[in-house]
């Protein structure tokens, strides 16, 4: 028994990502075709050469046919996957493992979400027929409980915490402003963020991720085949995934200042990749900043900061674009937007651009490290799924 990973056995050789946003004029089919075509072109291949597909969407369609039909895939195995907001990452994980197993030579992961056709702000889940006793809170409300819990545990006052959370949103807006694919491309002042209308608990509207339509795709092959497709492949160093058992909601010991599912995936991923000091070894990280307090806690759960100190690092600029460890250089969910099924692959797309020197000049990360981390979660504090990947440009 054990989690062994597939370090250096599979490489990403092509990627695509649409612009994210309120794409009222673009349907799911167009998003899928656009992201897939970009990926095919980037890998110098085509849909017929890809042996198998994994399609991630939380609720924009059902079954592999939702991808097979718009792409007109001819007798291909297409699997639809769903794992809350980590759906895109799950698609990549399945495609990578399929190649690593030897079952297929070339596999593709596509993630997409058409969120903005619902007619409502925010994300809305399909109701499964039920007994009516489940919580009906918004994600914002569930995550908002993290902020006061963290502040009280580490003795930070309300105003200080407000500044820390605003700094996270400020950074992600700063980065997103330099990303032509991002939903929100405007820098926001700390003052504007602090003054935004309250949504839940202490969280204002500018503490929340953008809700967007979009799609992203990645093509994976065996590592030894990678150079047949591209000059600079991205090797998969680790893929880790955990589905929580929901016990945080009913366990009196849970204190809302950390996410055990994230800690577990980080431990597993670092072990797979052989990372011992992520803050020094990683060139960058894309993390699931669905709400500003989430990013705060993730800095500690992912081992980028000691417990109770991330807030200070955030104020010090450690995770800024030119900081010690840039976090969400593409603007994150906050500013790039969050098309649920696409987000996990969008994070990988930023690693693809940054590590291979293709990121635009004004958000280019200036360090010589070769590893990136993506972290994607779904659900709420106490009841979540978590995914961590480590990607690198060098075989070890």
């Amino acid at each position: 028994m054990g989690s062994h990973g597939i370090k250096d056995r599979v490489a990403i050789v092509g990627m695509g990502c649409t612009s994210f946003g309120e794409r009222f004029d673009t349907g799911l089919d167009d998003l899928l075709v656009d992201a897939s075509n970009q990926a095919f072109a980037s890998a110098g291949t085509n849909k017929d050469a890809v042996d198998a597909y994994w399609f991630g969407t939380a609720q924009s369609g059902m079954s592999g046919i939702t991808l097979a039909r718009p792409l007109q895939l001819n007798q291909k195995p297409v699997t639809r996957v769903e794992n809350f907001c980590a759906t895109g990452s799950e698609a990549l994980r399945q495609a990578a493992y399929a190649v690593a197993s030897g079952a297929y030579d070339i596999a593709m992961a596509v993630g997409a979400e058409k969120v903005k056709d619902s007619g409502y702000a925010g994300l809305n889940a399909f109701p499964v027929p039920n007994d009516g006793t489940a919580r009906t809170l918004t994600a914002a409300a569930m995550f908002s409980m993290v902020a006061p819990a963290y502040a009280s545990k580490y003795g930070i006052d309300e105003d200080q915490l407000r500044q820390v959370l605003a700094r996270i949103a400020w950074k992600n807006h700063y980065n997103g402003a330099r990303n032509p694919r991002a939903q929100f491309r405007r820098e926001m002042s700390i003052e504007a963020i602090c003054a935004s209308p309250r949504v839940a608990g202490p969280l204002g509207i500018l503490d929340c991720a953008g809700v967007a339509d979009g799609a992203a795709a990645a093509i994976v092959v065996r590592a030894e085949d990678a150079h047949r497709f591209c000059e600079k492949p991205l090797y998969i160093k680790a893929l880790s995934f955990v589905a929580g058992n929901g016990s945080g909601l009913i366990d009196p010991d849970y204190d809302y200042t950390h996410f055990p599912e994230v800690e577990a995936t980080a431990r597993d991923a670092y072990a797979q990749a052989g990372i011992t000091d992520p803050r020094k070894e990683l060139a960058m990280a894309e993390v699931h900043d669905c709400f500003t307090p989430t990013e705060l806690v993730l800095m500690e759960d992912l081992g980028f900061a000691q417990r109770g100190t991330a807030w200070q690092d955030i104020l010090d600029g450690t995770f800024d674009l030119q900081g010690d460890l840039p976090v969400n250089p593409d603007g994150g969910l906050k500013s790039f937007g969050h098309p649920v099924g696409a987000s996990g692959l969008r994070m990988v797309f930023e690693a693809w651009l940054q590590l291979r020197g293709e990121a635009p000049e004004d958000r280019h990360i200036a360090n010589d490290r070769t590893l990136a981390l993506t972290h994607n979660l779904g659900g709420y504090p106490g009841e979540m799924v978590s995914f961590v990947s480590i990607l690198g440009t060098e075989l070890s």
Binding site: S144, R198, A200
Partner: protein, 479 residues
Amino acid sequence: MRGIVSAAGYVPYRRLQRSEIRDVFGSGGGKGTRSVASYDEDTTTMGTAAARLALRSVPTASVDAIWFATTAPAYLDKTNATAIHAAARLDNNAVALDLGGAIRSGVGALRIALDGSGSCLVVCADSRTGLPTSPDESAGGDAAAALLVGDEGDGSLIAEFIGAGAATDEFLDRWRTPGNDRSRSWEERFGETKYVPLGIGAWQAALKSAGIVPEDVDRVVVAGMHTRAVKALVKKLGARDGAIADDLTSSVGNPGAAQAGLLLTSALEAATPGEVIALVVLADGADVLLFRATDKISGFTPTRSIKDQIATASDLPYPKFLTWRSMVTIEPPRRPEPARVSASAAGRSEDWKFGFVGSRDRSTGALHLPPSRVSMTGSVDDMEPAPMADIDATIVTFTIDRLAYSPSPPIVFAVVDFDGGGRFPVELTDVDAADVKIGDRLEMTFRRLSSADGIHNYFWKARPKRSAGTITNSNDGVA
């Protein structure tokens, strides 16, 4: 000999200052306050609250039947008493019946129980209103009462039923057609001329059946929607000075079919051994029921007295009252409305949904809410039922959700730890968002979360535990 084994009233937390009606419309209103059911309460949930309070005073009592009377049933065709039966976790073989429609069904349920056999829980609940500025709007009230009726043989009666009188007549004083939320009434004088003689007739018949005279009656409570007739009758009963008890109309208002039960309960809460209590009700005739408090009355401690509930109240702004009563429709949150409850899913989880029963790991004590076959601490199918509805809890952390759908936003939501272990994230009710604090003490309360497709979604919320003297005023963030 039959009589009362236990009794409890339930008065909702909110009050409307009647003067506010005139402030807004320039007419209507009056003095004092009326009680207001929360947006998440109906006659079934208020009845449940009263039933649970009544049963908590007599934890070992068995219940053979539950009779539920209201003029404002949450459902027609479907029995409402079954939800109360489920929430009170009564035996499967108990009978649960609705006596619906007329105001008189409140005292009627009590009469039938007293004339019947076995242990019978009589639950009366009502929610009264009328068009803005109407007398019914300001004079009405929302409340419930539950009285457990049983036999002397059990040695458990707090009051013996010693006599009754009745009178019936067909005449039109107050009426409402099904589906209409507004009652109508005939010119007051006509009703008065009918009610007063009917009341006197029933009064005399009751005294005769008990073999007593008016001077023997220590406490008289008079219920009736016809205020003028009630006042006129009171003067003609020949009761001793000071025997006429407060009818609670200046604080609670008149809760229709629940008024008789509420006033009798209120009298019992104040009674001393040997005291004779008369309940007089004017509704399409007259009913008089006579009781004598037993020695057991001195040992009867209400779980939460009506007096205490009247004293722990919070004013509700009149515009909120109008929206809660669907007299004014305000813009709802821009979120999808809840889907209807699945009947089969709700049926499977009856103990959880209606009884708030979780499961507890027999070996480690880990508590699962909702119940689970597999414990978070390891065991499989080694769980026992964990009834949690009567366990108090403390707020660990909380939030205000301004985006989620609620019939009365914002939602106040807390993570709470139960006394003796166990945690549950739960919506709060009967709170003002600005007053909630970590460490606040809570009790569980059975509420109607929402309705969709004509199906009411009942489940549990938590509300602050309050004691007499904490009267607060609110203007903002009423949840």
